[in-house]
Symmetry: C2
Subunit: 192 residues, 2 copies
């Protein structure tokens, strides 16, 4: 029984996430943020609390969507063995990074380095990291590895994952990516 909102809050949050993902928290000024979200200051502060809470919301969004999809893919038996899924994930990331102009990297990884958003953001990021680790771990367990072995290997793979995403943001070359993936294969016991 009042004036309806003229923008889609979810869509605006998506745009905000893309900006934070690209340039980080501080470098994303409020005016840039408003431009990306295609709303004005009034709507912004009416719909959300402030810049930081929008940042936290985008972290949640990344967790729900990107991390969620990734973990789901890692746990999907239809995509082959656990090892197959892990390698496929790395292949996708490498392909993405090689594309000219795509220098985003991983929002989780970038945000971990950024250290913005206070302790609340840090807690979210650690939870996301654990979730990713568990995704790798379960994929390995699907291949018959016992809990402790799978955990250890999963952590090694998680490390390689973050490393690859840093290099992707730095501008990864095709053969560099191929070499990285070959090492992941070695972690999976697939000697080549």
């Amino acid at each position: 029984m009042a004036r309806p909102r003229e923008f889609d809050a979810d869509e605006a949050l998506e745009k905000a996430m893309e900006l934070f993902w690209d340039v980080g928290y501080d470098e994303a000024s409020l005016s840039e943020l408003l431009g990306a979200m295609a709303i004005t200051k009034g709507s912004f502060y009416k719909a959300f609390q402030d810049k930081q809470s929008v940042y936290l919301a985008t972290l949640d969004r990344y967790n729900d969507q990107v991390v969620g999809n990734t973990v789901a893919f890692l746990g999907d038996p239809a995509e082959g063995t656990g090892g197959d899924r892990i390698l496929a994930l790395f292949g996708r990331i490498a392909d993405l990074a090689q594309k000219e102009g795509d220098r985003l990297g991983c929002f989780l990884c970038n945000a971990l380095v950024d250290k913005a958003g206070g302790s609340e953001a840090e807690a979210k990021l650690q939870a996301m990291t654990r979730r990713l680790e568990n995704g790798f771990c379960r994929a390995l367990q699907d291949d018959g590895l016992e809990e402790t072995d799978a955990r250890g290997t999963a952590r090694g793979i998680l490390t390689a994952y973050f490393g690859l995403r840093v290099l992707g943001r730095a501008g990864l070359s095709a053969d560099m990516a191929a070499d990285c993936i070959r090492q992941v294969e070695r972690m999976l016991g697939r000697v080549r």
Copy 2:
């Protein structure tokens, strides 16, 4: 034949590097920078050009000192085989990261994610990355690996290196670090 400088420019640059290392480029405001360097604005702009050129100078400093030392260590036969040196380096990093309160990570890695300082900074960072890769590569060649094999493995190790440093900045646990190192051992062909 004039008034001498009251501060050590090299020492001030060291402090500037520590600040950029910790919080990144944008988050390090000029006043914070001046506080860390223990000089006032007049001296700052007299001795250096501006904030960005100081940032670039700290990147050079990191390259000269930290990256230089690391590569020197990797190439020092007195420290054991090439594999020994690589594992020792990872062990040192893991120990450092586990220490409570040390959440700096690697300046090179942080700066790669930060994407600040323009194309000049980017060129320096890519050069540093290549230098590190070559350090790993030569260490592996010392163990008898041929050029192409060493190159591929070095890149995998470089990836693990960056991943470990991201996790270190995120707050690495002791067993997480141990698991990561175990995977590096696997890359080195030392099955365990």
